[in-house]
C-alpha cells in the first residue's frame, strides 16, 4: 500500500541519515587526519603504494639505461648499487606487500559484510607508520645515504666494517617500520575474517579472496618476526657491537641468511597469494559461474601457506650446507608447485565451463596465466640444487622472480584495480585504455625480462653495474632496456586512465560487472557505514542470481558505532561490538614511534628516551572511554 511504502521509505531515509551522522568523519583536513574508516585508509594506502611503485620503477629504468651498453658510465658503481638496493627494497617492502594488504583493507570488510575493519584505529596507525618509514628511506636515498647492500642486506657486507655510515641502518630500520605496519593489518584481517562475517557466511561460503587474505595474514604473523629479529640483530651489531653475525666471535654470517630467508620466502608468497584471491574473484565474475572446486582451492591455498615456510634454504644452495639437506629443500620447493597447479586447473575449468566475457580485468588474469606459469616453470628449474648452482645470483633468477612477481602479483593487481575501481570511486575506467595498457605491459614485460633468462645462462651475474663487451651480452641487454620503456608507457597509460576516469569516467552503478560477492551489494563508492543493514548470506555467491533480494538483518544501533560479531565457523550472530570514533591518536602514536625508530638509528638511547613519548600517547589512545559497554546475547 502506498502509505506504508512511503512510511517505510521515510523510515529508511531517516535511518540512512542517522547512520551517516554516526559514521561520517569530521569535515576537512582534521577529518582526513583522524579517519578510521577502512575505505579511506585503504584508498590512501593504495595510492601511496602506487607512488612507491612508480619511483622504484624509475630507478629500474635508470639501471636499465646503465646496462643497455657494456662498460657504460651513465651511473657509477656507488650510485648503481644504491639504486638496485632501493629498487628491490621499495618494491618488496613499500609496494608489493602494502598494496595487497591495502586492497584487502578496503575490500575484505565489505566482502564479508561488515561495517568496518576489526581494529579501525590500528588500521590508521598502520598507514601512518608505513608512510613515515617510506618517507624516511626515500629521504635517505636522496641524500646519498640509501641502502647499498641489496634488498637482502647480506652480512658481512652490511656490517659496519664494510658498510660505513648510516646507510644500512636506515635500511634496517625501514624494515622495522614496514613490518610493524604489515603486522597490524594482518591482525586486523584475521580478526575481521574470523569474527565479523555476515550472518550465514559459514566457512564454506567465505569468498576465495577473503580466504587468501586470511591465510596471507597468518603467514605475515609467522614470518615478519623473523625479519624483525634479523634486522634488529643487525642494527644491534652495527650500533652497539654485538656479535650475532661475526664469525670471529662465535656468530655466523649464515645466521642472517637463515633468519632473513625464513621470512623472505614466505614474503614472496605473501605478495603472490592475495593475487590468487583476486584472480578467483575476477574469474568467477567474468565466467559467470562459481569457481570450480572451491574446497580444492581453499586447501590449495592452505597448503601453499604451510609449504611456503619449508622452502627458505633454496635461497642458500650455494652456501655450502650439507647436500642431503639441500635435496630436501629441492623436494619441498618442487612440491609447492602442486597446489598452484591445482588452482590453475580449477580456474581454467571455470572458464571452460562458464560463459567468459573478456573484459580488462579478465585480460590481466589471462596475462597472469601466460607469465606466472612461465615463472613457475623457471621456479621448478631453480628449485633443483645443481641447476640452481649455475643460475643462482644470475640474470636467470632475476627473470624468474620478475615473471612470478609481476606476472603473478602485479598483473592480477592491475586486474583487481580495474575490477574494483568502480567500487572505490563510483566511476568506470576506460576499457580501451585498459586494453592498451595491458598490451603495452605484456609486450614490454616480455621484451624486458625474457632475454634475461638467456643472459643468466650465458654467465651474467646479477647486481653488476656494468659488464664487459665481447661475451655476447650486449644485444640482449639493449633489448631488455628498450622493453623497460614500453613498460613505462603502460604505466603512463594507467595513470592517465585513472586521472581521466576520476574526472570524467562513466558512472558505475552498485554492481557494474554483475559480480556475486557482498561488496557489490552497496553503493559505489560505499557510504561510510558500508551497509544499511547487515546482509544475511545464504550461499557462497550471495548476489547470484542477480536482481534477487538480499536478505538483511536489522537491529544494530544507528546512533552509535556498532559492529556485529559472529561465530567463527558458522557465522551465527553473537555480539554487538562498539567501534571507535575518529581519533588523532593513531597519528600521534605513529609520530612518536617514528621518533623512537629514527633516533635509535643514531644512538641506542633513542630506544630509552623515545619510549617515553610513545608510552604517553599510547596510554591516551587506549584510555578506556566512558561509553556503553558492548551488548551480549541475541538482542
Amino acid at each position: 500500500m502506498a502509505t506504508s511504502d512511503s512510511t517505510i521509505e521515510s523510515q529508511r531515509e531517516r535511518g540512512r541519515e542517522a547512520l551517516l551522522r554516526t559514521w561520517s568523519d569530521r569535515p576537512g583536513f582534521m577529518g582526513w587526519l583522524t579517519t578510521v574508516d577502512h575505505k579511506r585508509v585503504g584508498r590512501r594506502y593504495i595510492a601511496t603504494a602506487l607512488v612507491f611503485f612508480v619511483i622504484a620503477g624509475i630507478l629500474a629504468m635508470l639501471m636499465r639505461i646503465q646496462l643497455s651498453q657494456p662498460e657504460n658510465n651513465f651511473l657509477g658503481p656507488d650510485r648503481y648499487n644504491q639504486m638496485f638496493s632501493m629498487h628491490g627494497s621499495m618494491m618488496m617492502f613499500l609496494f608489493a606487500v602494502p598494496v595487497m594488504e591495502a586492497v584487502a583493507v578496503y575490500i575484505v570488510p565489505l566482502m564479508v559484510g561488515a561495517r568496518n575493519i576489526s581494529f579501525p584505529r590500528l588500521n590508521a596507525f598502520s598507514y601512518w607508520i608505513y608512510l613515515f618509514g617510506g618517507i624516511m628511506i626515500l629521504a635517505a636515498f636522496l641524500l646519498d645515504v640509501g641502502p647499498e647492500a641489496g634488498w637482502t642486506g647480506y652480512v658481512p657486507l652490511s656490517s659496519s666494517d664494510f658498510s660505513a655510515g648510516k646507510r644500512t641502518d636506515f635500511w634496517a630500520q625501514m624494515i622495522t617500520f614496514t613490518e610493524v605496519a604489515a603486522l597490524c593489518i594482518a591482525v586486523e584481517l584475521v580478526a575481521t575474517i574470523l569474527a565479523m562475517r555476515a550472518p550465514g557466511m559459514t566457512l564454506r561460503r567465505i569468498p576465495l579472496f577473503a580466504w587468501s587474505m586470511l591465510i596471507v595474514s597468518l603467514m605475515v604473523i609467522f614470518a615478519m618476526p623473523a625479519v624483525m629479529l634479523s634486522s634488529s640483530f643487525l642494527i644491534s651489531d652495527r650500533l652497539v657491537g654485538t656479535q650475532f653475525y661475526n664469525a670471529g666471535e662465535g656468530g655466523d654470517p649464515l645466521l642472517w641468511q637463515h633468519l632473513f630467508w625464513f621470512f623472505g620466502h614466505p614474503e614472496v608468497y605473501i605478495i603472490f597469494m592475495p593475487a590468487l584471491g583476486m584472480i578467483s574473484s575476477i574469474v568467477e565474475t567474468f565466467s559467470r559461474r562459481p569457481i570450480f572446486g572451491y574446497t580444492a582451492m581453499v586447501l590449495a591455498l592452505v597448503a601453499t601457506g604451510f609449504l611456503a615456510f619449508g622452502l627458505w634454504v633454496h635461497h642458500m644452495f650455494a652456501t655450502g650446507l650439507p647436500p642431503l639437506g639441500n635435496s630436501f629443500y629441492t623436494a619441498a620447493s618442487m612440491m609447492i608447485a602442486i597446489p598452484s597447479g591445482v588452482q590453475i586447473f580449477c580456474w581454467i575449468a571455470t572458464l571452460w565451463t562458464g560463459k567468459p566475457i573478456i573484459t580488462v580485468p579478465l585480460l590481466f588474469v589471462l596475462g597472469f596465466f601466460a607469465l606466472f606459469v612461465l615463472g613457475g616453470m623457471t621456479g621448478v628449474m631453480v628449485a633443483s640444487v645443481p641447476l640452481d648452482l649455475q643460475v643462482h645470483d644470475t640474470y636467470f633468477v632475476v627473470a624468474h622472480f620478475h615473471y612470478v612477481l609481476i606476472g603473478g602479483a602485479v598483473f592480477p593487481l592491475m586486474g583487481a584495480l580495474y575490477f574494483w575501481f568502480p567500487k572505490f570511486t563510483g566511476r568506470m575506467l576506460s576499457e580501451a585504455l585498459g586494453r592498451l595498457q595491458f598490451w603495452l605491459f605484456f609486450i614490454g614485460f616480455n621484451v624486458t625480462f625474457f632475454p634475461m633468462h638467456i643472459l643468466g645462462l650465458m654467465g651474467m651475474p646479477r647486481r653488476v653495474y656494468t659488464y664487459p663487451s665481447g661475451l655476447g651480452w650486449d644485444l640482449p641487454n639493449m633489448i631488455a632496456s628498450l622493453g623497460s620503456w614500453v613498460i613505462a608507457g603502460s604505466v603512463l597509460v594507467f595513470a592517465f586512465n585513472v586521472f581521466y576516469a576520476l574526472r570524467a569516467g562513466r558512472p558505475a552503478g552498485d554492481n557494474p560487472w554483475g559480480a556475486p560477492t557482498l561488496e557489490w551489494a552497496t553503493l559505489s563508492p560505499p557510504p561510510p557505514y558500508n551497509f544499511e543493514e547487515m546482509p544475511v548470506v545464504r550461499g557462497s555467491e550471495p548476489l547470484w542470481p542477480l536482481d534477487t533480494d538480499l536478505p538483511v538483518m536489522t537491529g544494530l544501533a544507528k546512533d552509535k558505532r556498532e559492529a556485529l560479531l559472529t561465530t567463527s565457523t558458522d557465522a551465527l550472530p553473537a555480539t554487538r561490538w562498539a567501534m571507535p570514533d575518529p581519533s588523532i591518536w593513531p597519528l600521534w602514536s605513529a609520530l612518536a614511534l617514528t621518533v623512537l625508530f629514527v633516533w635509535s638509528i643514531f644512538s641506542p638511547w633513542g630506544v630509552v628516551w623515545g619510549a617515553i613519548p610513545l608510552a604517553v600517547v599510547l596510554t591516551v589512545w587506549f584510555w578506556p572511554k566512558r561509553s556503553e559497554p558492548s551488548l551480549g546475547g541475541g538482542e
Binding site: P77, N81, A149, G293, T353, D393, I454, G459, L471, L475
Partner: protein, 332 residues
C-alpha cells in the same frame, strides 16, 4: 600482423637472443664433468617444463575459444574432478622425475675425487688470491686472478674469504659455491677440454662486484706442469736500467707495502702477488686487458678504472711510473 612479419619478428628475436651464446662463460657450454651433469638436469627440465607450459596455455586458449559467443554452459562436475585428480597426479609425477634427476646429478657434483690438484682460493674485495697447495711447502705458490688447471684431472678448490661473502662461479666447469668468512667450503671441478674460460664473482660483494673476474685456463698435463714449475721460480732479475730502477722504486715506495714479488724485498700480502704478473691475461681481476699501456694507466690512477678499489693512486714522478711499469712487464 602479417604472417611474414611474424616470422621475421621471431627470427630476429631468436637470433638476437642466440647472439648471447658464448663459449667461455656459459652454463650451456660445459667442459667439465660437473657442469655436464648440470646440463643433463637442464635438458630434462626443458623437455618437461616446456610442454607442460604449452599444455596450460593451450587449455586456456581452448577454454576461451570454445566459449566465444555465449558459452556452452556447465559441464559435468564429475568430469572436472577426475580431470583435476589426473592433472594433480601428472604434475606430482613429473615433479618427482625432476626431483630424482636433480638428486642424482647433485650426487655427481659431490662425488669423491682422487689425486686432485689442490688449490685454495681466498676472495678479497675485489680480487682472487689463488694458492696452489702441495704436501711439500716449498712447492706451494701464490698467484692472483687466474686459475690454471690440467685437463682430465680433478681440482679440489678450498674456498675462503678475507672479508665479505663472495661466490666463485666458473660456469663452464661447475656451479657456484660461496666463499664465506668463517666457513671452509670446497668445490671440485674436473675439466675435460683445453681452452681459456672466464669465471666471475657471483655474490654481491660491494662496489666492484662487477669487476671481479677470474681467468681460467685449462692446459694439457705437460703444459700445466710447465706452468707450475715456472710459477715456483722467483721473479726474473731485471736487466735494463729502467727495469732495475723500477724494481728499486717498487720495493722502496708504497708498492711493497701491499704487493709481493718473490725474489725481491717486496713481501706485502694485502694485494695480489705480482711475481709473474706479465704472464697473466688480464689486469685488476678482469677489469682491464694487460699490456704496457693499460698497466701504466692502472698504476697511475686505479680509482679511475675501478672506483672504490683498495689500491690507492700513489703519487709518482712520470719517470718512476714508467720504470715501474717496465719492471712489471718483465715479470713473466
Amino acid at each position: 600482423m602479417s604472417l611474414r612479419g611474424l616470422r621475421w619478428g621471431l627470427a630476429a628475436a631468436g637470433s638476437a637472443l642466440l647472439s648471447a651464446c658464448n663459449t667461455v662463460q656459459s652454463a650451456l657450454a660445459p667442459v667439465a664433468d660437473e657442469s655436464r651433469a648440470i646440463v643433463r638436469v637442464w635438458d630434462l627440465m626443458l623437455w618437461i617444463c616446456g610442454p607442460m607450459y604449452l599444455l596450460v596455455l593451450l587449455a586456456l586458449g581452448y577454454a576461451l575459444w570454445r566459449n566465444r559467443g555465449n558459452g556452452h554452459g556447465r559441464a559435468s562436475e564429475r568430469t572436472l574432478w577426475f580431470g583435476l585428480l589426473g592433472f594433480t597426479v601428472l604434475t606430482a609425477g613429473l615433479l618427482t622425475v625432476l626431483t630424482a634427476q636433480s638428486y642424482v646429478q647433485d650426487r655427481r657434483l659431490h662425488a669423491p675425487v682422487s689425486d686432485p690438484v689442490n688449490v685454495r682460493i681466498t676472495a678479497k674485495q675485489w680480487w682472487w688470491q689463488v694458492e696452489y697447495l702441495d704436501a711439500d711447502p716449498s712447492k706451494q705458490f701464490t698467484t692472483a686472478n687466474e686459475l690454471h688447471l690440467p685437463v682430465d684431472r680433478p681440482a679440489r678448490i678450498e674456498l675462503r674469504s678475507a672479508d665479505v661473502i663472495h661466490s666463485l662461479w666458473i660456469p663452464v666447469l661447475n656451479g657456484k659455491e660461496d666463499l664465506i668468512p668463517g666457513h671452509a667450503n670446497t668445490i671440485t671441478m674436473t675439466p675435460r677440454k683445453v681452452g681459456r674460460y672466464r669465471g666471475q664473482c657471483a655474490e654481491f660483494c660491494g662496489l666492484q662486484h662487477a669487476n671481479m673476474a677470474l681467468d681460467v685456463r685449462i692446459d694439457d698435463a705437460a703444459g700445466f706442469a710447465a706452468w707450475q714449475a715456472h710459477q715456483r721460480t722467483p721473479a726474473a732479475t731485471p736487466t735494463t736500467p729502467s727495469a732495475i730502477a723500477g724494481r728499486n722504486d717498487f720495493t722502496a715506495m708504497a708498492c711493497a707495502m701491499c704487493h709481493a714479488i718473490d725474489g725481491t724485498d717486496a713481501g706485502g700480502v694485502v694485494g695480489p702477488n705480482l711475481t709473474h704478473l706479465a704472464s697473466r691475461h688480464r689486469l685488476a681481476a678482469g677489469a682491464l686487458p694487460l699490456d704496457r699501456g693499460t698497466l701504466e694507466t692502472w698504476i697511475l690512477d686505479p680509482q679511475r678504472h675501478k672506483p672504490g678499489t683498495n689500491m690507492p693512486a700513489v703519487p709518482l714522478q712520470p719517470q718512476q711510473l714508467s720504470d715501474i711499469t717496465d719492471y712489471l712487464m718483465t715479470l713473466n
